[in-house]
């Protein structure tokens, strides 16, 4: 027979256990928002209808016309590493396809700093949205952009193109075969085999806000970036860190994105204190025919991974 004390114990323990059970009850594993029934109903009502003319009129009405000027400005600047830049690194090849692929290693291009000027190469600068495009830029957008490789390196490390612009994937090696894998989100992915001297045409179907990696399965150290944009306002900084973009529409609110492969911001956003926001975007409106010089933009080591 159970003693009183024991029974007390058992009952109290039982009560506590029971409460513990309830604590675990009804817990939701996700903190994502629940759908709002009336919004769902309102949207679904539209999905069923087949007359789109009305809907287009309504959606047009919600987009306010962007105020814009009539002239064309420009943007220049240069990126410089603040302090002592990291020593250039070599990526090991394991002796694969030597001597075409340097058996001592291939130069790591994830952060290239010029030893003299400390200029940072391969910083991508692009204008996110524009309301008009200068006529001189239309021609360039239809010319093929060549994306070549030699000595087991991509010859262009960051290549901005315009959507639908022909991109020629090329292999200029004498004796080494490559392949170029490009898998842009929600766009046609390709991965053609490129024998020595081979080439393959490609075109992006939709713009991206983050550069798409281009890689070679055979030589895994090979990695470069291509970004398709819906406007031709982009530039990549040269070996001395300089960049310039001409004929930018003035008089409108621009969002100028800075990106670098090794930048520490989310998805490569290059965040510069006092110049950009937390997503690496410079918000700026160009005055009439204004030539904006951002000057020397100093980037500390903390801006990079």
């Amino acid at each position: 027979m159970m003693t009183n004390a024991r029974r007390d114990w058992a009952l109290t323990a039982g009560a506590v256990l029971c409460m513990a059970l309830v604590v675990g009850c009804g817990r939701s594993s996700s903190d994502q928002p629940l759908a709002q029934a009336n919004v769902v109903d309102a949207v679904r009502k539209e999905l069923g209808s087949s007359s789109t003319a009305e809907a287009e009129a309504a959606s047009g009405a919600t987009t306010a016309a962007t105020p814009t000027g009539t002239g064309w400005g420009s943007l220049t600047g240069s990126f410089v590493f603040e302090g002592t830049p990291p020593a250039p690194k070599l990526l090991p090849t394991g002796g694969k396809d030597a001597p075409t692929c340097n058996p001592n290693g291939i130069q790591d291009e994830s952060l290239v700093v010029d030893p003299q000027s400390k200029g940072i190469k391969n910083v991508l600068v692009f204008v996110r949205k524009v309301s008009r495009t200068h006529e001189s830029l239309a021609q360039a957008a239809s010319e093929p952009a060549v994306f070549d490789q030699k000595n087991c390196m991509f010859l262009t490390h960051v290549l901005p193109v315009v959507v639908k612009q022909p991109v020629v994937l090329k292999n200029s090696e004498a004796g080494v075969g490559h392949n170029t894998q490009i898998s842009p989100p929600a766009d046609t992915a390709v991965n053609p085999l490129l024998p020595p001297g081979g080439q393959q045409d490609y075109a992006f179907g939709r713009p991206q806000n983050v550069p798409v990696p281009a890689t070679c399965s055979i030589h895994p150290w090979m990695k470069a970036y291509i970004i398709p944009r819906d406007n031709p306002y982009f530039a990549v900084s040269d070996a001395s860190g300089k960049f310039s973009i001409a004929n930018i529409p003035d008089g409108e609110d621009l969002e100028i994105q800075l990106w670098h492969e090794s930048a520490s911001g989310a998805r490569g956003a290059l965040v510069v204190s006092g110049l950009t926001d937390g997503k690496g975007i410079i918000k700026r409106k160009l005055g009439e025919n204004e030539a904006v010089d951002l000057g020397v933009i100093q980037l500390p080591a903390s801006a990079f991974k």
Partner: protein, 428 residues
């Protein structure tokens, strides 16, 4: 004595009573929900939260923190809009919906969706949850409860990429491709064969997989479209006309994105790769020993030739899958940080390496028919490092010869695996 026990007795009585009351409502789980692509998975979307935590400790300027506050608020609005739009456009796991212009069969979707149920007539419902969801997940994210224990991981349908198709580079699979995967399974993986299911059940599952894929891709596209926009939440207190106006504009965006995705599924059929019909060699020695032997030999040369097919670079000279030596990843895993980095904690499934196939095992994931292997070589394996060689192997019969060589490999004694010709790997 009894006074001494009174508080404890009271506590017990109250505790039992409270528990009893609370448990009445317990045990009934919430209705199944689709998980957002960015829900605790994809660091691109989780990054704001992470950065906000970091910002507390770092010496960032006030402006930065302000920006982040705005960004996080915008992110919440975006999540709400995406959930509302997707629920409107695609319904819920229990009640699927598809706008009529997507070409999805709603009756099939209903059969596949919802909780598992069977009726006296023998009809089954909830087929996806019965057969697929424990690996592929309720949302088709390839992260069901079993996924962590599998190699390779189950397919995540949301990026809209499927490895084994009969269609051209970058194209979606056909319904017939998905049917073959469901009916025959994928040899060498955890994907079993569902050959015993009746046709109408297989059709329902195919429809549901396409539906989950279009839904997942549409979500990605909506997120991209909303990115960088100052989003306005739908004002629930506004009058009905104003609300409807906002809803109309949003519905239009959803429609165009979803229709764009759905059109790719219909376009895929036109890109089917038809294997060369002119130079089909015998596939068995019994069909003509000399010709078969010659085809295998030509295939061997191509397999090793760095100027054309170059298969040895990954599959190796002996085709054991040891040609590269480097770590390779498919696109689903490539996006993830290395398993040693702290950010990997944001992903449910750790980064998983992909090996070039050992061709001496005689196990072919994409099917063992010569035509299956022909297509693997011609268009590659989508979302993986295996490239498309169709643009290079343009002579009639070249791909068939490699198919013959590959098919002969499991029957070659291991002693014969020694390099019998000068290795092309050493060519300059």
């Amino acid at each position: 004595m009894s006074n001494l026990h009174a508080p404890r007795n009271l506590f017990r009585a109250l505790a039992f009573l409270a528990c009893g009351a609370a448990l009445v409502g317990c045990g009934q789980s919430d209705a199944a929900r689709f998980r957002l692509n960015m829900d605790g998975r994809d660091p691109t979307f989780a990054s704001y939260e992470v950065q906000a935590d970091e910002a507390k400790t770092s010496e960032e300027s006030k402006q930065f923190r302000e920006d982040r506050k705005v960004a996080i608020a915008n992110e919440k609005v975006r999540q709400q809009l995406v959930v509302d739009l997707l629920t409107a456009g695609f319904g819920t796991p229990d009640e699927p919906f598809a706008p009529s212009d997507l070409g999805l069969d709603i009756a099939r979707l209903r059969r596949a969706a919802g909780p598992v149920a069977s009726y006296q007539s023998g009809q089954q419902h909830g087929l996806y949850r019965k057969h697929c969801a424990h690996c592929h997940g309720i949302s088709g994210d390839g992260a069901g409860p079993t996924a962590l224990f599998l190699n390779p991981y189950p397919r995540d349908y949301r990026p809209g990429v499927f490895k084994f198709t009969s269609t051209g580079p970058g194209m979606k699979p056909t319904r017939a491709d998905l049917e073959r995967t469901i009916r025959e399974g994928l040899a060498g993986t955890a994907m079993p064969s569902f050959a015993t299911l009746p046709q109408f059940e297989v059709d329902a599952l195919i429809e549901y997989v396409i539906y989950l894929s279009i839904r997942g891709e549409t979500e990605t596209l909506l997120n991209a479209a909303f990115e960088g926009e100052e989003l306005e939440p739908i004002d629930l207190k506004a009058d009905a006309a104003k609300q409807q106006e906002q809803a109309t504009a949003l519905a239009e965006r959803l429609k165009s994105e979803a229709a764009d995705r759905a059109s790719l599924w219909t376009a895929a059929v036109d890109t089917i790769v038809v294997p060369n019909q002119e130079a089909i060699p015998p596939f068995l020695p019994a069909e003509g020993t000399a010709e078969w032997q010659a085809s295998v030999e030509r295939g061997r040369v191509l397999f090793r030739d760095s100027k054309t097919a170059n298969c040895i670079k990954c599959h190796g000279l002996t085709a054991l899958g040891d040609g590269g030596g480097e770590e390779l990843f498919d696109d689903w895993n490539k996006a993830k940080p290395a398993n040693t980095k702290p950010e990997i904690a944001l992903w449910e499934l750790p980064k998983q390496e992909l090996r070039p196939r050992n061709l001496r095992l005689g196990i072919y994931r994409g099917g063992r028919r010569p035509a299956d292997l022909y297509r693997r070589i011609h268009v590659g394996i989508k979302g993986t490092p295996m490239p498309a060689a169709g643009n290079v192997l343009t002579q009639p019969g070249q791909i068939w010869d490699i198919v013959n060589y590959v098919l002969s490999l499991p029957y070659e004694a291991s002693g014969e695996a020694k390099p019998t010709q000068p290795s092309v790997a050493q060519a300059p």
